[in-house]
Symmetry: C2
Subunit: 543 residues, 2 copies
């Protein structure tokens, strides 16, 4: 924030004074706004460009430019120059996730007012770990948690009147994302699976070995379809259950959890006295396919067997705001816990997630106090969260809900689901493409299979098939890479079983349609580009 | 973002179009900047006010205003009105952590350029979980990690040349705070404590029960002084070790870990074949007192015994940037892992922390892959982090280091330490106050003890002492509360042993001097106010 000049930059008290500048007089205010103008105008080009790195520079060469590892002693740059550098050097090498041609991941465009709301949150810099550093923001957070809890569970007015500002109960928590939300849910599920016994207080206090011994157990498992997000396996590892004990369940022909297999597995596990089922996880919007597990049936199975039912709705949760499609999530209100991400379909900036519990006492299983902060019986939200210090993301969500209304969100959700359905039809009609997973929400997968190979595949024997499939895999890997490097559009890729034989996974292209600016015309262009890439850059080299 | 008008707000495509507004033409750009101006100017009053809630409104009454739990269907407010509401209704009821009179917690003023940098990060909305949604930001993050690693460990140039952009090794990770940084460090320490054996792959995969059985163990423990942050106990609970197995060690007369006790404890634990010591934690800036454990001695003990040495420098880490005081952290370069928070003494906005590992292979112990993201051998940073999706906080830290230089940070660190020392002298000179813990860094604790009670305490017998101490506790609880409610200044309170007898903890006032605008004059005013509060509002009611 130094004045322009030729003199070298120095760190002194005078500079510090200016660095801690706040809009105290008209001149300072103007300076701060001028910088914001630079940021907003400067990022204009970035946000209007196509996807990815238009600049032709390989990753290796790019990495070579970021190798200096010494921290400069004196200031190197003024804020204005830092902003300029970011606009001219960082932004062009970043990924334009806001482009309507960027349909490859769950990170997408955000309404620009979100940037303003994030700016406010940063300027206030409240820390909702405790009341003393957040005051009204802790109270607002409890209200927002109740709003979303009500969206999920639809308890009656009196329930929310009782709990919305209750300092002893918790309807949920803001987390830093779906990963820690899932971890929190399984943490609670793990702890409540081991009620106190003589000489055993809790798994939290005494540890797993002691808990298992007190309960005569050998292992605790979590069951989830093989489409479960990898954060669930990670949670198993972190929580000491072992990632191997997050057991992947087979899929049925819909690509969702096979209920017969699940029931059978539960019966077998329950007949083993050494095993306890800590949770069953239903997915409401699988990361790779967008599929939603049959939640009412899962709820029923869990209720019958007395198992904690967690729904990972990190992706699909906000579909509850769509009057047209909320029925897809029916059964979620019977979940013991639910994960929903804010930086996904609530269109908030990175990084924010949430976890909810049907029972307002469930989070008592993870309570921690400290005398300098988070005293029992206080509004200190940090008492029952995995994370410590946290920014006031609830202010952003609350404001967004006021600006958009549930109908505004509903429009975006509907657009994604309906555009994805249209996209699926387009893919089916094209000779070069094969739809692999049809969209239930706004995610689908497909692959490019040249018509001649398609024909051969139909007639091929087992050995020949394997050879051909390998070729198709290679085509799609190269296709995705070339398209990404072209920088005009972006789809991602993963591996999924393409046929009834689920033992073999094929490379597929994965699309997530969440940007409301993504139109069928754009999707058509993307398919055109892929055919063109295949015909001009891949075809000649195959076989 | 609707035009001003009397018509009701509706959610339709036209609105959506405007909501996803980006600075595409001159008019839109101006609108976006106008909103930023409202934000920056509007928060002006807030940031220049005294601490806390000037508005006289009790917590209970405040909570009553935040009880509506229905999400509105149609938009309720335009962005401009939301901003206005935040400025007029939320900010005045938030806590002005930026005030130089707010010296109670580790959340404080941030240089205003940080708000601009956060705005940029939000506008770019990159997700550094993987290269495909972040590109250069993942590469930049690796560089920033190397810079801070070098600040801590000071390996030679060739070490950093080898690792700075190495896709197979990791020098550390950005986390969402010190809590998850500590959790990550202990997660790594836990996993590496159980090398593979026949029929046992890893604790991560197989779980604790299996791991303990394979290694013939009954429990795993972590040793840390009783001043350890509560996130360490929480990590013990989450990781399945049991929070009881995070064993608090006695303090010596310096208020840091008692080395003789520690050595003795280690010897006893090692003689028990069923127990493994997973880590010893040294504190570099205790949350309550700012004290730094004797790091070289701890390092030596850990090296001798082959124990993972973690240093929780969430608070103190940036002291390494001060040429005058970095010697206080000597020994940190021998730690196996180190936690440093960004939103504490790196003066970044909420929420950002970091964890570092001396061994670039240590994080291999917590690796997770998923085929749609985070492929092995890629720059995908999400492979080895507790968190999933993450914003590009490294851009903020990197920019701040360029703007301030290590000297700029050093000035702020020096100011805090030296002002705290001065404050301690002021306290000692005053008749009404007793310094409880002298400042090693920029944190100190003290309490108000009226001179007549001080005299009585000196002469009192055991029973009388207990009665008097209870009175002093009550005085300080009320003092802190009244001062907070007055809203002019803020100190926090906690409980610490005041005398040699550590079995009894007394209520103390706790100050954290990190705002460079906090001067000795301000501190003097705060003590004056406290004496005044005691004399006018407390004195009459005691005894």
């Amino acid at each position: 924030m130094q004045k322009t000049g030729r003199s070298p930059l120095v760190a002194d008290w005078n500079t510090l004074d200016r660095v801690f500048i706040r809009p105290e007089d008209e001149r300072c205010r103007k300076t701060l706004v001028k910088y914001m103008e630079q940021i907003l105008f400067g990022l204009h080009d970035f946000l209007n460009r196509h996807v990815g790195v238009t600049e032709e520079i390989s990753l290796v060469r790019l990495a070579e430019e970021y190798t200096d590892t010494l921290i400069n002693k004196d200031p190197q740059k003024k804020l204005a120059d830092v902003i300029k550098d970011i606009i001219n050097e960082i932004a062009p090498r970043a990924v334009n996730v806001a482009s309507p041609y960027f349909i490859g991941h769950m990170t997408s465009a955000i309404p620009f007012f979100m940037v303003h709301l994030k700016t406010i949150t940063a300027a206030l810099n409240q820390n909702v770990i405790k009341l003393e550093t957040s005051k009204v923001l802790s109270i607002l957070e409890k209200q927002v948690l109740a709003k979303i809890h009500r969206m999920i569970y639809r308890f009656d007015e009196s329930f929310y009147a009782q709990h919305v500002q209750n300092v002893d109960t918790s309807l949920g928590a803001f987390t830093t994302g779906g990963t820690t939300a899932n971890l929190t849910a399984l943490w609670v599920a793990r702890n409540k699976s081991f009620p106190p016994k003589k000489d055993f207080k809790s798994i939290e206090t005494n540890g797993i070995v002691h808990a298992f011994r007190a309960h005569n157990l050998e292992r605790g498992v979590v069951l989830v379809s093989r489409r479960g997000h990898f954060s669930l396996k990670k949670a198993g590892g972190i929580l000491g259950l072992g990632s191997n004990n997050i057991i992947p369940m087979a899929l049925d022909s819909n690509g969702t959890i096979d209920l017969a297999c699940l029931k059978d597995k539960i019966a077998r596990l329950r007949s083993d006295p050494g095993t306890r089922i800590i949770a069953v996880v239903g997915i409401a919007g699988a990361t790779e396919t967008g599929k939603i597990d049959p939640l009412p049936e899962l709820a029923q199975i869990c209720e019958t067997n007395g198992i904690h039912f967690h729904v990972d709705a990190a992706w699909g949760g906000p579909v509850l705001l769509s009057e047209t499609y909320r029925h897809l999530l029916e059964g979620i209100e019977r979940a013991d816990s639910v994960t929903i991400d804010c930086h996904k379909q609530f269109y908030m900036p990175m990084t924010s997630g949430m976890v909810y519990f049907k029972d307002p006492r469930a989070m008592d299983n993870i309570v921690y106090h400290a005398s300098y902060v988070n005293r029992p019986g206080s509004v200190d939200l940090g008492i029952k969260t995995l994370e410590g210090s946290r920014e006031a993301n609830s202010l952003i969500l609350d404001s967004a809900l006021k600006i958009m209304g549930s109908r505004g969100y509903g429009l975006m959700i509907d657009h994604g689901i309906e555009t994805a359905a249209e996209f699926a039809e387009m893919i089916k009609k094209r000779r070069f493409f094969q739809l692999v997973t049809s969209p239930c929400l706004n995610i689908l997968t497909y692959r490019l299979v040249p018509p001649d190979i398609q024909q051969k595949l139909e007639a091929a024997g087992e050995k020949e098939k394997i050879k051909l499939e390998a070729i198709v895999d290679e085509i799609n890997i190269r296709l995705q890479r070339i398209q990404r490097e072209n920088g005009k559009s972006f789809v991602s890729r993963t591996k999924l079983p393409v046929n009834a034989d689920t033992s073999r996974e094929s490379v597929v292209l994965r699309c997530v349609i969440m940007n409301p600016m993504t139109t069928p015309e754009i999707l058509n262009e993307i398919l055109d580009e892929q055919e063109m890439i295949f015909n001009t850059k891949i075809k000649a080299g195959i076989g």
